[in-house]
Every structure is written in structure tokens, then in C-alpha cells.
Symmetry: C2
Amino acid sequence: MNRDAMPNAFRPGAVDLPPREADLVARRQALLGPAYRLFYERPLHIVRGEGVWLYDADGTAYLDAYNNVASLGHCHPRVVDAVARQAGQLATHTRYLHEGVLELAERLLATLPTELGHAMFTCTGSEANDLALRLAFAATGGTGVIVTENAYHGVTMGVAALSPSLGPGVPLGVHVRTVPAPDQDKGADVTFGAAVAAAAADLARHGIRPAALILDTVFSSDGVFTHPTDTLAPAAAAIRAAGGLFIADEVQPGFGRTGEAMWGFLRHGVVPDMVSMGKPMGNGYPVAALALRPELAERFGAGARYFNTFGGNAVAAAAALAVLDTLEAEGLQAHALNVGGQFRADLSALSARDPRLGAVRGAGLFLGVEVLEPESRAPDARMAARIVNGLREARVLISATGPHGHVLKIRPPLVFSDANAAFFLERFESVLAALR
Amino acid sequence: MNRDAMPNAFRPGAVDLPPREADLVARRQALLGPAYRLFYERPLHIVRGEGVWLYDADGTAYLDAYNNVASLGHCHPRVVDAVARQAGQLATHTRYLHEGVLELAERLLATLPTELGHAMFTCTGSEANDLALRLAFAATGGTGVIVTENAYHGVTMGVAALSPSLGPGVPLGVHVRTVPAPDQDKGADVTFGAAVAAAAADLARHGIRPAALILDTVFSSDGVFTHPTDTLAPAAAAIRAAGGLFIADEVQPGFGRTGEAMWGFLRHGVVPDMVSMGKPMGNGYPVAALALRPELAERFGAGARYFNTFGGNAVAAAAALAVLDTLEAEGLQAHALNVGGQFRADLSALSARDPRLGAVRGAGLFLGVEVLEPESRAPDARMAARIVNGLREARVLISATGPHGHVLKIRPPLVFSDANAAFFLERFESVLAALR
């Protein structure tokens, strides 16, 4: 399943599609080629979004419990207005002075520990992680990188080489070592910090100086491991003892999604050397960033300048500022905590009644539900895919994740309500019943 | 000068700035760090753009003869409207079916040779070149890359390693070889194709299999070499003979800027294996793409999928379609040819009268003017920087490029008119006179 961690992906020819959608699929294959994948056995043709709802070309509404980019809800008017207004006024880059990018940097840095004093702007989370690596290599003189066993950190050459979740078609770099994600449900014979120390030692004995430990702070692609929250501090200490830096990848957990904190690493009481962020940052507008300790930029900036044509442009800054304003104005972090807490409890109750479900993990509105063989309690990716596709037919959108593809990944826009959760649970129960 | 190819960059503390701008500079240094550079000895505080004009906070207008992102003119209403409309409707990704990305792929591919049958979408030109390399490595089994001596192909780790213009602070990869850009003004003892063949042979004797030759088809950062137009075909043949691919980097020359063709490589009568594009593609909206021979995607797609969260999203597609529509509706390629041709002739006439100016190169609205020591005819980066800063004081915006930083780079929005050119020439003459 690691071969392609999309157990629910569309396979051409596997199902009959209506003529319009069949035509779109054929055009996609002809135009975009085989590297592009569609969600679901019966792909969705989405034409409109509003709040937690996506609408297909026939006007059918789907409850979106998966898209974290539209974290404020699809097409939030405050962000749309900010983008339209700024795009009509100025859309230039960071080689002129502009208030927007500075206000954004100030606002972002105010949400982070004071040690993180600089912000740098990119367009995508991949670019932010790629830049973090360039800075880490420059600052440490090393190239060794430690990630978790099924990590995903992006699609540039530099970060794809440390993203084992992309499968064997994308080999890891020789400078990369992996450690198991800290899993509260498994008896582990080493602590996470000790595993990082061992990986750093293995790099060193191959003559590779450790540069960085980079971790998604909720371990999304490893299967969503939000707890325990005492694992990152010893891991950060271990990489620092080996001369490397700790990079928190907040592209998925960031911007309040975990409910308990603006950033996932804050739940662990640790201060990273760098923090990357992206996806929900512009609620759909392409904007991403890296926050870092100033001394890292000093060393990089002495030898290299950084210019990203669109990164930190005036419109990107306006979009991201509108997102920060709206998160605050609508109290979405607290909302995610409240709604997500009850939702998780309800999912746990359901799991206790259904032997096909296992651990329910998560924080705020980032949730993972294991799907297991009822007898062996082994991961059941096939059933997970049937549930994901069954929910799609029942008009509820989620996906599955983890190295075995057996963890249902539930990650709705933060405006997801108790009523949305009740709707989800009702459909989930129906799908589970139908799959008996 | 290669150390930092921005001869005209602001140096903190070098000039007195008004209080508001001094404050912005101080906040930038504190917030963004030293890797960020500002244009000009006296940085500009730009707050509004319209057509070829940029306006500072005091309302002063500057003739923009440099920003090629806003190729249709700053804040073109057709693109602003398309972005606002689509952002209000849907902004999701390519894992659902959507008409926009397919229409965009069809429209783009229709401007390219039929051999280039697939389009893949990213957010930045850096990401497009980075993806091109990943595809080239997968398709050839090699890792060797050939670029020109002062090439720039982007800021990700993968493409920064083959961008010598970033200076010695960013070392080239061990798998990279450079060739001199083809310069019609220099007597060269080897042809460009022979230089590529020699570089490929040098890779091979180091045990590195050649994967790609990647070239900006107007050699922007090498100093703008638009002629002769018979150099790319032998270079492409040479890399192919060595088992590698030819990638045309159209991020700067593309979308009609050269006047003679939609894409720079078309002027050379060669068909690349891949074509990357970016900057002006969304007239300010972050969108970029890679066009490629389908067989390359087959090999990559068999082992790896590609997903870029924002690449090819519905708003990006709407922005890029509006750009293609506007380029056509306003006849901007032909306009660039006409205005650019006369502008180049007028600059050549001025150069003939002023011993500080040398060759005037270019095609359409991509122009380079050499600045030379009057006696020795050696590159004069100091005078080039004085001209760039003098023009900025005279409210005309350009920059300088090339390994010696002595080539004035003139690259205005394509809506630049004869009257704008006349304004430019008048200011240019005044600045030259004042610097005598």
C-alpha cells in the first residue's frame, strides 16, 4: 500500500462514469498524463464551494471533511474580497518596500515563540520546506536529514527525497534516515528521542553530518499521531546534540487546526529552529512561509540572497492577513477544539461498537480512525478504501492515510459544526452498516 | 560582481531615506532578515500599479520598464476580474475533475509544437524547473545537467544548484557543468553545440550520465543573447546524442515577450523535450507550468504521482486563461515586436553616439544594453549601476544583468507603447548626460 498511499484513488476503466465526467477523465489523461491522480473510484466533478460544502456539476452537495486549505470554509468572502481588492491595486514583489508583507511577518511571528524572529515567504509548503533545508545545510555544514517512516514534506526534488510516503518510485536520498512515528498505541522499545539519536549516529558513521530533523507535528502521513505530546522535545534535543536543527513542518497541523494551539509543536512545549507553514495560510491563495531563528538567516544571507517572485507579494500578504483576521474574529481555533473534541468522542464511541474500527486519534479538527480486520486487528486498507468510497457515495468527503493506508483521515474546514459532525456520523454509520 | 549580480541593490545605511521608508527598511531587516534585497540605492515604496506605471506612497509615477510578471500591465482588469470571480466560486485542487485546468492545458499546448502533449502545473517557475529535472532524471537514469555560465533557473535546492548566477554562496552541484552563452558579439572558437557536447563528455568521464541541458532561450541572466537564432538546435542535438534531454526555460522569454514568437525556442526552430513557464502566466497570480513529451510522463508517472496543492487550482487556471485571452485580444505579441523593434533601433542609435554604451541586444520587449569603459571597451558594472539608479531617480525602472553586471536589462510590461519608449529614451539621455 506504501506503493501508492491513495487506497481510494480512481483507477481508469474501473467504473462507468456519466458521459460528461468520462469526457473530463479522458481529457485529463490525454492532457495531464499519468502522474495525476483523482480521488475516489467515481471521481467528483466539483464546480462550486461554500463553507463546508462542495457542489458538483449537478448541484449535489458534498460535506467536505477533508480539504484543509479552505480552512475558513470554501470561498470565504473576507479572503475573496481581500484578494480582489489588492489584486486590483498592486501585485508586485519583495524588492520594493511594501507594508503588507511586513505586517504579515509581524502578525505571524507574534503567534510564534520569540526565538523565531524572521519570516521568509514562498508560494507552497514544498518551497518552504525546501528553503528550510537550504538554510539547515548552510547553517550546520551538514546534509543529513531525519524524517519519520512515512513522512511527506513536499514535491520539489530536495524534499521529495525525504518523503518516503511518495513510495519506491521516489527513492530516498542517501543522506536520509527514517524513524518510526511516535505511536501511543504501540509498545515501543525505544523512545522517540532515542530513535532520533540512533538515526543521527547512523548518519555520522556513514560520514554524513546531521543537518536536520524535520517532522510534521501531528504525523499526518504516518497515520495521525497527535499524542503523546512529550515526544518532540526529546527528539529536538537529540538532533541538536548531534549538531542538527529541528524543523517543525506545520503545513498540515498549523493555523489552529489542532484546537489546542495555533501550531502543532506548541502542544509539545518545544521551540523549533524553523517552522514551515502553507496550505490554509491563504484559504486557497498560494502562499506559504518559513519562520526561523535569525542567526540561521544571518549565515545563509551572508552567502546567498533569496528571492521568490510571488512569495510575499502584496496579494499573498493580503490573503494571509485576511485569514489571520478571520481565524481570530470567528474564534476558529476554540471552535475546532470544541467541535473536534465532541466529534472525536462520538467517533470513539462508534469505534467501541464496531470491531472494524480501531484507535481514534486526533486533536481539534485533525482526526484519524484506524480500520482493522475484526479478528486479527491488522490494518485493513481494503475496508478503509471501501469506507472512503462509500462515504463519497453518501456525499461525505474524506481520505485515508498512513503507511498501510488504513487510517481514515478526517480534516474538515475549521468552520465544521456540531451539526456537520452529526451528519457525518449518521452517514458513517450507514456506510458501515451497508458494508457489513 | 558575480558575487551578487545586483549591482544596483540597496545597501543599508548607504543613503538617507525619508522617515517612513527608513522605518520600512528597518522593519524589513528585523523581520525578513539579510537574504532579502531591495532594488536601488534609494528603495522604492510602491503602493499601486496600473498599466506600465507604478506609483509610490506619495503618488509619484514610475515608468515600469522591468516587471515582466505584469506582462499585460499592472492589475489588468480582465485578470483581476477572472481571479475574483473564480475565487468566489471554487478554489480547489486537481484531485477533483474541473474544466478550468483542462481548458488551460489545451490552450497552452495549442501554442506549442504537437510533440509536447502533456502539461503539468506548479505555482512557480522554480517548481516547474525542479519538476522538469525530476522527470529528466527519471527518464534518462542520469543526473548530469548542463547550463550556461551565468544561468538562473530558480530557488529550490534542486535548481539553485544549477544556477551559477546566485554566486559562490550557492555552490553548483557536482553533477553540473557550464557552457558559455552563445554571444554573437564575441568571436567564439567553438560553436555552442560543440560546447554542449564537450560538457556532456566531461560529465561522462566523471561517471555522471547526462540527463539534461536546460537553457533560458534568451539567456537573460547571461546578459540577454537573443541572436543568433541557430544555436539551440545544435545544442539540443548534442545533449540528445549524449542521452540527455533539452529543457527550454521560458519563464522569462515566454508568453510573446520576444515579439517574434510565443516562446523563445520557436525562434530557433527547435522542439524541446520539456518547456517550463511561469512569471507572466497569471499576470501576478502565482501559476506556472511544464509542458512535456508524453513519453516522459509515462516513465515518471509509472513510479511516482505528482500533486501540487495549488498548482492548476481553479483560480490559477482562470487567471492564466484570462492572460491568454488578453494576449490574443490585445495583440500583445505583435505589439511587442513593433514597439520593441523601434525601441531597439533607437537604443542602438543612442549607443552609436555614446561611447559608454556597447551592443544593444534583444527581441521584442526583452532588451539588453551593454555598458562599457569608453577606452578599454571592458564591462563597466559601476557605470551600469549608476545608470540604473539614475533612471530610478528619473522615475524609470530597469535593472542590470550578466556575469559582470554591466548589461542594462529592459523588460517592460508588453503594453509598453511608442510613447513610453520615447519617455524612456528622453530620460535615459538625460541620465547619461548628467553622469558625464
